[in-house]
């Protein structure tokens, strides 16, 4: 009884496998179901023998599977066979799990028979998701850190409209406190009060917009608008450092698919770095310029340059490495995270010395990257 012996050996082999192994005939009827498959799907082998493989699939996958099977049986041209594909597998209790399915045809069998290997992808998928979430979280935290570094200037900027409101209100009070008050003058002042309140609200709104968004959402955007939205906050930060902030934005740039909050984080980070570098020097006029332009290859380039001393040659090669910081309170994550963000957009973040002095960081964003988004 050598045949029985070899079939027992085969069953032992199948049962020892970690992945689920299922054999079906040309109609999709289950011929064999190993122990791992029992564990994965929650069925006993004898319950399934002779039943159609589609019970192990979601409705969408089942329809697709029937089509693949019919096509192969008809044409004998393999489409899936020999290649794996990601499917959603259905357990006995109707719960689903992500699975990697590899299919092979049994050689010489006629009508054809197929062996399917089912690998449970749950853990891998989870760690992928987890990794992704951690990265998003890190970017968000680093964005908050940058906003935090700018808080001093922002607080000062918020104080301006508040002081103006208080002063206007005091003035109104005094203007009305005379026998024949000039109502028109008071009205003008009241309008100013309202305007200043809106100005204060605007600053807070922009701050919230930056701090809140955690999930990544990409949309076709105008890079200039993305930069303009930062103006109030960056201006506040610049003023706190005694630095002139200028924008030099090229007109008619193509739309870029990007995550607004992330690109703003990159620009903010680069500008804040420049401001801190300038604060160390003793220049008469300190300035940071943010430029946008269209490159010859059709990419959109954002550059942040300053007229400070530039990046020290000793750290030029290391500054994009994590934890390489020259600032006593720096995390050393600003530049590496910025570069990660830009690369995730299919772009590049690079440094070159600015002419005649200072540092210049360029963010290049490819205009045609709708597919990779």
């Amino acid at each position: 009884m050598t045949e029985t012996k070899s079939s027992l050996e085969l069953q032992a082999l199948l049962d020892a496998a970690v992945d689920g192994i299922v054999v079906i005939d040309h109609l999709g009827s289950i011929q064999s179901f190993n122990r791992s498959a029992e564990r994965l799907f929650g069925y006993q082998a004898q319950e399934l023998i002779g039943r159609n493989i589609s019970v192990l699939m979601t409705d969408d996958d089942a329809t697709l599977h029937d089509r693949f099977l019919a096509r192969y049986v008809g044409t004998r041209i393999p489409h899936i066979i020999g290649r794996g594909r990601e499917v959603t597998a259905k357990r006995r209790d109707s719960t689903v799990f992500p699975a990697q399915l590899s299919v092979g045809a049994v050689a010489g069998a006629d009508p054809p028979r197929f062996v399917g290997f089912i690998h449970d992808n749950t853990t891998q998928r989870q760690s992928e998701l987890e990794g992704h979430r951690l990265q998003e979280r890190l970017m968000h935290v680093s964005r908050l850190a940058t906003v935090g570094e700018m808080a001093y200037g922002i607080a000062h900027e918020l104080n301006q409209p508040l002081a103006a409101i208080a002063t206007y209100a005091h003035a109104c009070d005094r203007l009305l406190d005379v026998p024949d008050p000039d109502i028109e003058e008071v009205q003008t002042a009241l309008k100013q009060i309202a305007e200043q309140a809106v100005r204060a609200g605007d600053i807070i709104r922009r701050l919230r917009a930056l701090a809140r968004t955690e999930e990544i959402s990409r949309a076709p955007s105008d890079v200039n608008t993305v930069i303009e939205e930062l103006t109030e906050l960056v201006q506040a930060d610049a003023k706190a450092h005694g630095v002139e902030y200028r924008r030099d934005l090229a007109a008619n740039l193509p739309m870029i698919i990007l995550d607004r909050a992330q690109i703003q984080q990159v620009v903010m980070n680069l500008v804040h770095n420049a401001l801190e570098a300038l604060a160390l020097g003793q220049l008469d006029t300190k300035e940071v310029v943010v430029r946008t332009r269209l490159t010859r290859t059709g990419d959109v380039e954002i550059s942040v340059s300053d007229n400070g001393v530039g990046v020290d040659t000793s750290i030029v090669n290391r500054m994009f490495d994590p934890f390489c910081s020259t600032k006593p309170t720096g995390t050393g994550l600003g530049l590496p995270i910025s570069r990660t963000i830009v690369r995730a957009h299919g772009g590049a973040l690079d440094y070159q010395p600015n002419a005649p002095t200072g540092a210049c960081f360029t963010v290049k964003l490819p205009a045609t990257q709708a597919d990779s988004a």
Binding site: H156, A164, Y168, H170, A171, E244
Partner: protein
């Protein structure tokens, strides 16, 4: 000499702050002039114009502290009230050390600012009066003849007429005539007043701000 109306100069880069301050000052009947930058203030600065200066510490370009330094270099006597944002205390301290009249944190109570302005204007008036007095004394001193100056030196160092006469080799009567001329030209009513005038003149320092 016609007396000029004191002006409160406001230098702040924030338009809303400038305009609100100007309105507040107008509401209490004070003349104000506003300027958006320190450079513009310096360019139009007239040392003869009485008043005081309200200055934002933190401005792009020339900062408030730098303007104060420039004014110090020029020997300006205009009292400076700094207005600062939150957390600018170290700057305020530096401003005070550099001779600022006072400082205020934004936002402030109107009465606090107005009180400080009134005090600054009073201080400016005293300073200007002292300066005017000193320049009158200097002018009077300039009108003395060489002989009268010799007499003034001896009088203020406490020499009696007899000794002076001997020192100068003239009669006591001549000394008395010179002495009377000195008192008259210097507009001094007593020896004590004359001595004080000469001390003020030799000090020659700026009155404090």
């Amino acid at each position: 000499m016609k007396e000029r109306v004191p002006t409160v100069f406001i230098v702040d880069d924030d338009e809303a702050i400038r305009n609100s301050l100007r309105l507040l000052l107008k509401s209490v009947g004070l003349a104000a002039a506003t300027l958006p930058t320190a450079q513009e203030f310096l360019a139009s600065y007239d040392p003869q114009q009485p008043g005081c200066l309200i200055l934002d510490v933190r401005m792009p370009g020339m900062s408030g502290l730098e303007l104060q330094e420039q004014l110090n270099v020029r020997g300006a006597i205009i009292p400076v009230i700094f207005i600062t944002g939150h957390g600018d205390i170290p700057m305020a301290v530096e401003a005070m050390q550099q001779g600022a009249f006072d400082f205020l944190q934004k936002p402030f109570r109107d009465q606090d600012l107005i009180d400080r302005i009134q005090r600054a204007l009073a201080k400016d008036k005293t300073n200007r009066a002292e300066l005017a007095q000193r320049s009158r004394v200097r002018e009077n001193f300039g009108s003395l003849t060489p002989r009268e100056r010799e007499v003034l030196d001896l009088v203020t160092s406490g020499k009696p007429n007899k000794i002076m006469a001997a020192d100068l080799g003239v009669s006591q009567r001549t000394v008395e005539i010179h002495r009377a001329r000195v008192m008259e030209k210097m507009h001094a009513s007593s020896l004590a007043q004359l001595v004080r005038m000469m001390m003020d003149l030799s000090e020659g320092t700026q009155p404090g701000r």
